[in-house]
Symmetry: D2
Subunit: 408 residues, 4 copies
């Protein structure tokens, strides 16, 4: 097969499925495999992935285990949160935003090694295949992308395990049976899908949510925290300046402790079907509330309403895998332009599953007590101006009403 890849960079988790893919690539194409394992804050040890890759015959220099947490939050999560991006009203895009980062590294490693292909372990039914592949091809239009789940015939669990056994791939005990559901995790969120979650009319079992404390078990006392922003990005918690990834890590701790950020959701996949997931986004949920809180006093209505109006499109682009696209970048330019003065501090109350802004202050505030007061405003605002304002706003409505009466 002349079109067969010679050298492939595989997004490798160290788990059973990507280990099978690794072996399948070697077997099917006889190609050299390079592994990339990213620490995205998923909360797992990654060194076992090195040992396992070596066991499967990968040369040490072909094994890449990289801590990308700061890059992830700084270059992907934070820009997205500047937009208050929410997909279909509720979903904070925790999986979507990680995929382009992984593809970026796959392509960069491919270039360093002179590899001609990248491979991923996403299935042919989901969004992740689209996100991986659109990102990779936007960064290198000549790279091959291999999606074994769309190609091979290992379409049942039984066949997969047989293949693993035939190829001496170690199988953890709990992987022998059907997993109760499928999990993806990173610093921003943990998602669960499939099997016990497949019927949206049936409540998710309690054990699905593993990251966030059940609200019933959360502390009985509220906790207050202060988040400080500079130009739209969180930079400190309770006055302590922190790196992007550290901020999100801390917010995750606060959120998880107080049961914040659990979502049971049915969404529209880009590939045309609906799916149901349970999403845990403890820190992200706090961050969104805090960002909205600081925008309330630092962003004017013109910029704010403009942002609101393009947000659904921006969120859809990220969900659909178009992070590396001209339109996402143009929207980002718009969003970033609005954040120049989004600087200040928000005080939040965390309690039993909810997070609420309770106060906010900023040197960049546009809030004018002088104008809004019910008390004497010393001439800051002449109420008579409102009469003219209303009359001119009403003029077209009056002309319409007169017309409609005339032609009735």
């Amino acid at each position: 097969m002349s079109d067969a890849p010679k050298k492939v960079v595989l997004a490798y988790s160290g788990g059973l499925d990507t280990s099978i893919i690794l072996k399948w690539l070697q077997t099917e194409y006889g190609c050299e495999v390079i592994t990339f394992t990213a620490d995205l804050g998923q909360g797992e040890e990654l060194e076992p992935a090195r040992a396992k890759a070596e066991l499967l015959g990968i040369k040490p220099e072909n094994i890449h285990i990289v801590d990308v947490r700061e890059e992830f939050v700084r270059d992907f999560v934070f820009p997205m949160f500047r937009a208050n991006a929410v997909y279909e009203g509720l979903y904070l895009l925790g999986t979507s935003i990680a995929r382009p980062l992984i593809s970026k590294h796959l392509v960069e490693i491919a270039h360093r090694h002179g590899a001609d292909a990248v491979a991923h372990g996403a299935t042919g039914k989901g969004n992740d295949q689209v996100r991986f592949e659109l990102s990779a091809l936007a960064l290198d239009p000549s790279i091959k992308v291999i999606a074994p789940w769309r190609e091979w015939d290992l379409t049942s669990r039984t066949r997969l395990l047989e293949f693993a056994e035939q190829n001496q791939i170690p199988i953890a005990k709990n992987k022998r049976g059907e997993a109760p559901f499928s999990v993806d995790a990173n610093l921003l969120h943990t998602s669960s899908e499939g099997t016990v979650l497949e019927d949206p009319a049936v409540e998710a079992p309690d054990y699905v949510a593993q990251r966030i404390t059940a609200v019933e078990d959360a502390p009985n006392e509220p906790e207050f925290i202060e988040v400080t922003f500079e130009q739209g990005d969180a930079v400190a918690i309770n006055g302590e300046a922190l790196s992007p990834a550290t901020i999100l890590t801390r917010l995750n701790e606060y959120g998880a402790k107080h049961g914040v950020g659990l979502l049971d959701f049915v969404e529209n996949r880009f590939v045309g079907m609906k799916s149901r997931g349970v999403y845990e986004t403890p820190g992200g949920t706090i961050l969104l509330e805090a960002h909205r809180g600081i925008e309330q006093i630092t962003l004017d209505s013109g910029a704010g309403h403009l942002k609101d109006s393009i947000m659904p499109r921006y969120a859809e682009l990220i969900y659909n895998g178009f992070w590396f696209s001209p339109e996402r970048e143009a929207l980002q330019a718009l969003i970033d332009k609005t954040q120049e003065h989004v600087t200040g501090t928000v005080k939040l109350k965390l309690y039993k599953g909810s997070v609420r802004t309770v106060a906010r202050w900023s040197d960049h505030s546009l809030y004018s007590e002088k104008h809004v007061t019910f008390e004497d405003d010393a001439g800051a605002y002449d109420q008579k101006d409102a009469a003219g304002f209303i009359r001119l706003n009403a003029l077209r409505l009056k002309l319409i009403a007169a017309r409609n009466a005339r032609v009735k």
Copy 2:
């Protein structure tokens, strides 16, 4: 003054301020005053308003006290909730949506009585004046609108009370001092603004939120309810068919009990300034979550994303007072068209300030377990299709990448 009104319909609450306005209209213009007092579900006895109006010299046939709760929910609140309307990310428009209803009645009563003017008690700094007046003029372009707060010289509390005393207007004890804040209430929400709330950096005192139980005092056990929708409107709770106003009343009870729907918010007023309010919307917050829940399975992504994209504009129109405008009506036509199959039931969990969808089902569901399953789907979906789908979606991105590499 030839331009002076002869007969005025006043939006009359029975409180001190609108009583002063009533007397001022009589004094200033020598005009006949007709009162309109609406039961919007604000939770106050309205008959005292009749007695007070009579005391101030209003003829019995000129006093109108009307229960508009069903009309309010059926014709204003429910159409708005079909859109999932939220202003500036968080505010459920509880005050905004009541104003056009009041203006509609003022104008209708004016027509019945041959009155040439309507009057309201909103100040010249807020949004309500705009909402009242745009609505009235859109319904009758020739009607006069009188806004005493923009005209008179009773600009301090002291002058107001003097005027009241001079005119034998009874003053309740607690009205002598400055109110700690200003309150508006109806079936959808209670808002509080002003004085102790004026500094957005200072937390609202606990006593501000009067309608909703403090989360700390809410029950320690979650409660589950089921809300059923037909064509986008809630029609039953826990299987019991109920009228629109009854549904909202019940949801308010559930929400208030569990501390759901409290918002501390800084918003952009249409008249150009920012203001801070505390909003309590117990039933509305549940209704929004439930409506999103049922849309998740009954609305496809095309219609859903379209709705999301125009929602901010729709919410802005309502906030700014353009309910009776061609553009709001055109958007409503779009929204209502999408709701034809938004029929089914949502199960919600209420607990300590939060409301979450936990299950949803519908005969109109678009969710297809057959397509989404990780298990064998018996040919419902060919994963190989995804390869072509991705390749064509990637084509323009590849052409861009090739171009950018070429011209660099």
Copy 3:
């Protein structure tokens, strides 16, 4: 092949390509073929298609030749023109809007005959395949769609002609050589693509535009016509009431005579590539100008600007083939709602390639000379109102300027 179609309805033009497809369907699948030939106003005799189909063995009762011109204009062209739909700033969607109509008839005929498949002659590179197939599947999700150009191996002109000869399909003389370009025509437009047009840097030869008189040869005298609208649709020309298709036919005559409606255009196809076409839309270009002209006096800015803002999305949906989708239908509901008063008459000047509105009048006009006059307006408008209007519109800009100065 158990999946093979048993009975297929083919969109049949009577030309060489669809004749080959007809024979190929019979040969490849051994299936019964039913032909559908639509008179869309393409200006060709259709009865020869009947003879040719019979020659190729189609039973008389399986041959459908239908005049769909009125349906085309009334149910597809006119609704689209209510939106002033223009794709990528310039293209009037003449091909796009015809495809869903054809699919609708294919599916209806399939149901009448108990056929299990439909087939079309569009290639795998263009938009038409998408439009045909999305429309068909939206109307009948279980129907099979056969696109021979994506399946067969007749991928060169030589192979095609061989197949035709082997199967006794008559080949017109001029079809033996390469066509100089590909043409599609209907009552709304004629498009030309391919071969001599493939390089967008090279001007289209004069002979490409066949429908519209060259501007240099158009009359040296301008001509004026009046088009009358009711609720957004053209209903009369120069005072003569006419059916939808007759109106478009007449406008085509006027436009063609005066060289109106020629476009040389590079567009973005849905399948990801750019293509260049020459479009002739004589009547449609006049209709668009006329519709804008009547909207100028009958539509207010609220509805008008809303329409303008959603138009690009509406046009994109039609271009991409989503006529039969919930989002197109919801947008149509919005658009139609705005057209209730778009009634009146527009006078247009046609001359040497251009069409311009020169006057317009309507009983439904919102234009108020009284308000706009530079002369004394007898109190219709108080210029002092503008001061308040401007001051409140400026308020947020002043607060921003003060803030920016403060933090600099």
Copy 4:
């Protein structure tokens, strides 16, 4: 009057009306007047304005006559054309875009002279007052703005002329009678409004259009020109590199010669009424067509459709006077981001009132003949990919159709 201005910068044309304003400011407020006269390319001698100002008692150092043509085109016209901005489908915003530039200079001169106010000669019915004042206040929130037309009692032509005579203001002969219409001109356009144009049902007399040759008198031979763009801005004509203002001047000459750019238009003013104008925009009409032409091959559909979708809002902002607003600036950031590769050359045909792109080429082109060709494409594009693409795009439509059939 403590609030009276002490020193005022007046936008001064040298004509009768602004001369009267000049004198009125001196008389009414006893304030010092500074004049600003801008050469915006309106095609009039400006030195007479100096003489006239001196005659009216303005000190030489208080007279500012500035050639702002390059700034106008570079910083205002070109950024706007990057967006293909068109108001209400047809108007190229020629007056709107000049106003913020004038306000910017008024404020800068005020700061240099320590003036506390600016003044303009726009009436209280139009858009220009809004544009002048929003711009001035956005640049200096503490500046006073004086709009004599909204304040004085010189509300009839007779009163104006009396005032002029009383104050020894020279009156040109033709100014004694009523002007047949009101004219505004700059390098981008000439607009005419009022009197003979006030009835939109009556055709504009031929003498209204003064700048553009009547199409009947335009050359009988077409002319071809080439316009070259870099990053969205025109930089050369027929290969000759030119400054922004020179480019627009040349395009004006081409357009005027060939009768290009005449528009008879009824528009919605921001202040709520409709008005009718005749606009001549010869060079701008060519520039818009050329810019669209070069975007056709250099902009991909993602960025292009995004631009199209926000354009109406962008145009509305400029029309309404919000050039110096956060939302216009944020939209500009989006637009400018899309223009990075809008570089190349467009060939246009000018003839008898029309301008058409006939060819375009660019090193930055995204057009791929290889992909689009009807001929053998050597594997650039696999037509079978389209099947998967269509099937996944159809999936949700099929699920909808199945649902609708089920619940019917």
